[in-house]
């Protein structure tokens, strides 16, 4: 673990990613404790205040503290991003293990399904769910975000399993009488972990942008829970008079997604030097 961090720190991308993500995590973790209540509305007559000593990043048109809302929104974004990608990696990883090891019809069916899922842009899957389902609580949104991303990790893991299925160490484990679950989880999965981790860290950014976009359309995270996309939507009507109310949530989004993407690139270089 320390050696991986050191390897990441050696590359420019890795350093930038670690710093950006570290700052984002610190703000998301400590922000809500240090800043005013993001939901508290101040003096409504005062309108949106520019950044200053009382409110570092200003206030929005409902006199809510922009810094506090950005911190709260980052917390929600990061949580949704990490949880969804974990669900995608778990579901996809399991499917990939099974498809790669079983082969034959199981493999064919699972991979056809994966191809099909990848054909429909994820945003449209979410729009359809939001249109047709009675209620979509945040947990369901995260679940759909995660499950709709199962195909890419499934293919990655399957490819690794196919590559290693015939390897000597797998044959040895089988000869020693290791049960199937042990071969899959202890012998094959660790070898597929590298690509899976890289894909997951690159996928976090996609999910965060999707959630922010949905919230910008007024369909994702519901107020009063602060969300970066929702803040940009709210601030849209005061774009000309209070640009700071949309500037900072957008910058926060760029910082998070840039951080996870750079880190993903650096991880790929660190775990697989051929890709450099």
């Amino acid at each position: 673990m320390t050696s991986l961090l050191a390897a990441l720190w050696r590359t420019r991308d890795g350093r930038a990613g670690l710093v950006l993500l570290g700052v984002a995590l610190a703000v998301a973790a400590a922000g809500p404790a240090l800043l005013p209540d993001p939901r508290a509305m101040g003096d409504l007559a005062a309108g949106a205040q520019p950044p200053g000593a009382a409110h570092w990043l200003g206030t929005d048109q409902l006199s809510r503290d922009v810094a506090a809302r950005v911190a709260g929104g980052m917390r929600v974004s990061l949580l949704i991003g990490v949880l969804s990608v974990a669900i995608a990696a778990l579901a996809g990883g399991a499917a990939g293990l099974v498809a790669g090891y079983a082969g034959g019809a199981t493999d064919a069916v699972l991979m056809r399904l994966a191809d099909t899922t990848m054909v429909v842009p994820r945003l449209f899957i979410l729009l359809l769910v939001l249109a047709a389902w009675d209620r979509v609580p945040l947990a369901a949104l995260v679940l759909v975000l995660g499950l709709s991303g199962w195909a890419a990790p499934a293919r990655l893991v399957r490819a690794e399993v196919l590559r290693l299925r015939g390897a000597e160490f797998v044959a040895a484990a089988r000869a020693l009488g290791a049960p199937l679950g042990r071969i899959l989880l202890r012998h094959l999965l660790p070898n597929a972990a590298g690509p899976l981790i890289v894909a997951a860290s690159l996928g976090v950014g996609d999910v965060i942008l999707l959630e922010a976009g949905l919230s910008f359309l007024g369909l994702g995270v519901r107020p009063p829970t602060p969300s970066l996309g929702g803040m940009i939507l709210d601030a849209r009507e005061v774009l000309a008079t209070a640009p700071w109310a949309s500037l900072f949530p957008g910058l926060a989004l760029v910082a998070i997604v840039l951080g996870t993407t750079l880190l993903g690139d650096a991880l790929r270089t660190a775990l697989d030097p051929r890709e450099a």
Partner: protein, 317 residues
């Protein structure tokens, strides 16, 4: 080539049909009843009203029959009826297709000319300052929320400089003529290009780096060819194949981005229609739009594969 092409076409049709099954199940897996969802606040609606709506939407029939009915309609070009507009989904989608194709086509053209050029420029200057700056720009483009970038451009170019309109485009064949269309197109197309060009640059850079390292490049250099001819006549051409593959991967990005950009600039395309339909709980319309998006992605990867096969006979095997 013929048998390969036929197989590939059949595969495309099968995938689209399977996508339809998945999307259809997604609607029907809904916790709760679509009719109750639609009626929303008026849950106390008369039972006969509910029954009428259910019959109109075909919800009173068993699931396989509903699906068969939808597919039979699809074969006739019928995608059902929008709940919100009470008009055929196909008609609504068709009326928004022009603006979406105009926006998407412009972005495609810009990204695949400027983006590939920048990628090759990076590859020939690998590791130098220009490469590093362009790499940083590419990854920033990837991380940029398109809707936020659109608002920033609307604020700067539209509100501060008053150079271009930030919305209000209605009809591609309106009275303003081509000049008016072009003025409205600049900001949405620029936004969507900037937010999606990074993917093209990254892919082209690595494809061109790989091509520049190939033995035939060494031969070309040994023959005494100039660097420009080596780069553009030899390396770039062999990097075109991987670029085509990207078309299939890149289209979902643009289809998604278009939904947000159309919302920002009130661009009357399919993305805006789909987002508004989702907000209005108009699921037949969202289903139609999703199917169209899937078809666009499939056609994109089909075109990419056919192009690949024309460039490289080994693909057809």
């Amino acid at each position: 080539m013929r048998p390969w092409l036929l197989r590939r076409l059949a595969q495309t049709a099968a995938t689209l049909l399977l996508a339809l099954v998945l999307l259809f199940l997604l609607v029907r897996l809904a916790p709760g009843d679509p009719v109750a969802t639609m009626l929303g606040e008026d849950r106390a609606a008369a039972p006969e009203e509910v029954a009428r709506l259910r019959a109109q939407l075909g919800l009173d029939r068993p699931l396989p029959a509903q699906f068969a009915g939808y597919v039979a309609g699809l074969a006739r070009g019928d995608l059902g009826t929008s709940i919100r507009y009470q008009r055929p989904v196909r008609e609504l989608l068709a009326s928004r297709l022009g603006p979406t194709l105009l926006l998407g086509g412009t972005v495609l053209l810009v990204n695949f000319t400027v983006g590939t050029w920048l990628g090759v420029v990076q590859a020939t200057r690998r590791g130098r300052a220009a490469d590093r700056w362009l790499s940083a720009a590419a990854v920033t483009s990837y991380a940029m929320p398109s809707f936020w970038l659109g608002l920033a451009l609307a604020w700067l170019v539209g509100l501060r400089w008053r150079l271009l309109p930030v919305g209000g485009f209605t009809d591609p064949l309106g009275e303003g003529g081509a000049a008016d269309v072009a003025r409205h197109l600049v900001l949405p197309a620029l936004t969507l290009s900037l937010a999606s060009i990074g993917a093209v640059m990254r892919q082209q850079r690595s494809a061109a780096i790989e091509a520049l390292g190939a033995p035939f490049i060494v031969t070309a250099r040994a023959k005494g060819l100039g660097e420009r001819a080596v780069t553009w006549r030899h390396a770039w051409r062999s990097a075109l194949g991987p670029m085509l593959t990207l078309l299939g991967l890149w289209l979902p990005l643009v289809v998604t981005g278009a939904v947000f950009v159309e919302a920002v600039f009130a661009w009357p395309g399919i993305g805006q229609l789909a987002a508004q339909a989702a907000a209005a709980r108009d699921y037949p319309l969202v289903l139609g739009a999703s199917l169209l998006a899937a078809a666009a992605v499939l056609v994109g990867s089909l075109v990419a594969d056919v192009g690949q096969a024309l460039l490289d006979p080994r693909v057809r095997a």
